[in-house]
């Protein structure tokens, strides 16, 4: 039996490659120990799986030293480590109106404690003017943080330009790559970004409960949690070296084994091929949807400005009504509402009702996009019969 058409890849990817499932089994069957703790063969086997995942990610992100990648339980934790580690009351931080709550809630919490925060507004299509970020910088600015690809509009932030300017001014730059890591090429050697937060379970094809923070050499960042690391066990003080400084407590080894396999799968396909495939799907969807009366598309027009995420609404139907019909009557799974990014929806004018979001991935096909377009045409024609007379 065919499964559903899964267009919620921006929430978590599905299905995962078979190699991911096998890697998790490999942990239980062939490893099973606690990495870096006990030193016996099962502990060493587990540690090898963790390091293999680090190696795969280092290759994907062009990080010369895999030890600069610290694992966390998700992108949210990685972002919290960076934000709380770098900012104190009295500091100033610059961010954008497209941020996910994983960035905005920590920043608003710190703002209440005395942080000065500038939220640079994005354009109505979700794109960001890098110059507006530069204009917001003050002498006391201690962090610039932006999303790489918006989880609402798919808009891509010009991270190269911001990274270059941040470096020139000596301000740490944190990039939230939750939507883009594994979906489009990210070359950290070329970009010179100080901090990159990623999640393992989206485009990187790994398991939920995995993520990480890439910390460039020279960034002075205290950890958020302190505890057992399996290293320097003679000391009651937290080690100061990567990656242990940020990896207190036993890691999600089964999850990281799967993540390593997911990233290896991507490297086998080629990240450029992955990006091109998702671009093809988004282009086909946007072109087809633009031709359906009553479908309103959000996000950038130019393909170069967006990743594999697209938002839309249909007539006066609520986003949840459209999502319900897609799920119940067409086997198409989407995500509706505000996507944990209220500022992004205010920016594009869809607050508080939100949008229907499709997130495309490696396993989606043109045939699935065409099926979704037929479904939307059907829903739109039904919606047309229920529009208020004065609409």
């Amino acid at each position: 039996m065919a499964g559903p058409i899964y267009f919620d890849q921006a929430a978590t990817s599905w299905p995962k490659p078979d190699s991911v499932r096998r890697a998790v089994e490999e942990y239980f069957d062939g490893a099973g120990g606690n990495p870096g703790r006990s030193g016996h063969r099962m502990s060493i086997a587990a540690a090898r799986l963790v390091e293999a995942a680090r190696d795969a990610l280092a290759e994907l992100f062009a990080v010369p030293d895999p030890g600069r990648i610290a694992f966390t339980k998700n992108a949210t934790e990685a972002l919290n480590v960076a934000i709380y580690g770098l900012l104190s009351p009295g500091d100033h931080a610059v961010t954008t109106s497209s941020e996910h709550n994983s960035v905005m809630r920590p920043l608003r919490h710190l703002e209440a404690a005395g942080l000065a925060l500038t939220v640079v507004p994005c354009r109505p299509d979700g794109t960001l003017d890098a110059e507006a970020v530069f204009e917001a910088i003050r002498p006391e600015t201690r962090l610039i943080t932006t999303v790489h690809g918006s989880n609402v509009t798919g808009a891509l932030t010009p991270i190269e330009r911001i990274a270059a300017e941040a470096r020139r001014r000596g301000i740490p730059y944190l990039v939230d790559a939750a939507q883009t890591a594994g979906a489009i090429p990210i070359d950290l050697t070329a970009l010179g970004i100080d901090l990159l937060a990623f999640t393992g379970h989206k485009a990187l094809l790994g398991l939920t409960g995995t993520g990480g923070l890439v910390v460039a050499p020279g960034v002075d960042l205290p950890p958020l949690l302190r505890g057992g690391t399996g290293s320097r066990s003679d000391s009651e003080h937290q080690p100061d070296f990567m990656p242990d400084v940020y990896e207190s407590g036993t890691l999600n080894v089964a999850g990281l084994a799967g993540l390593g396999a997911g990233v290896r799968h991507l490297l086998g396909v080629g990240i450029n091929q992955v990006a091109a495939h998702e671009q093809t799907l988004v282009d086909r969807f946007r072109t087809g949807a633009a031709a359906i009366p009553m479908v309103r598309l959000f996000g950038p027009e130019r393909p170069a400005d967006r990743c594999g995420v697209v938002s839309f609404n249909v007539g006066s139907l609520s986003s949840s009504e459209v999502g319900t019909l897609l799920d119940r009557d067409f086997d198409i799974l989407s995500r509706v509402g505000l996507h944990c990014a209220p500022g992004a929806h205010r920016t594009i004018g869809t607050f508080p009702g939100g949008t229907v979001r499709f997130g495309f991935g490696l396993t989606n096909t043109i045939g699935e996009v065409d099926a979704a377009l037929r479904a939307l045409a059907e829903i739109a024609s039904w919606a047309a019969t229920r529009e208020p007379a004065d609409a």
């Binding site: 065919a2 609520s318 999502g323 509402g337």
Partner: protein, 92 residues
């Protein structure tokens, strides 16, 4: 008749509400929270509005917190009459 809706602040409560009502033999269905009612409700529970007092009392005993109670029949229920020929069949 599923003409009532409970909304919640967290899916934790929605999932537990659905199970509580079903375990008591009451009609219940989990749906995506209608955004025209509230941006809060990721997951909501449809139920028989005539049974609301009994349902609320039952949920209270299970520590399930309800955001709001609405008389509500989704407009999308009308869709069931339409069955386009090309539509994928499903067995739900």
């Amino acid at each position: 008749m599923l003409d009532g809706l409970f909304t919640f602040f967290a899916s934790h409560h929605a999932i537990r509400a659905d199970k509580t009502l079903r375990d008591a033999g009451m009609e219940s269905a989990l749906i995506a929270g209608p955004k025209e009612l509230s941006p809060n409700c990721g997951t909501a529970v449809r139920f028989d509005f005539r049974e609301r007092d009994r349902a609320l009392a039952l949920l209270a005993t299970k520590h399930v917190e309800v955001d709001a109670v609405h008389p509500y029949t989704p407009r999308t229920d009308d869709w069931r009459e339409r069955r386009p020929a090309w539509r994928r069949t499903r067995s739900r």
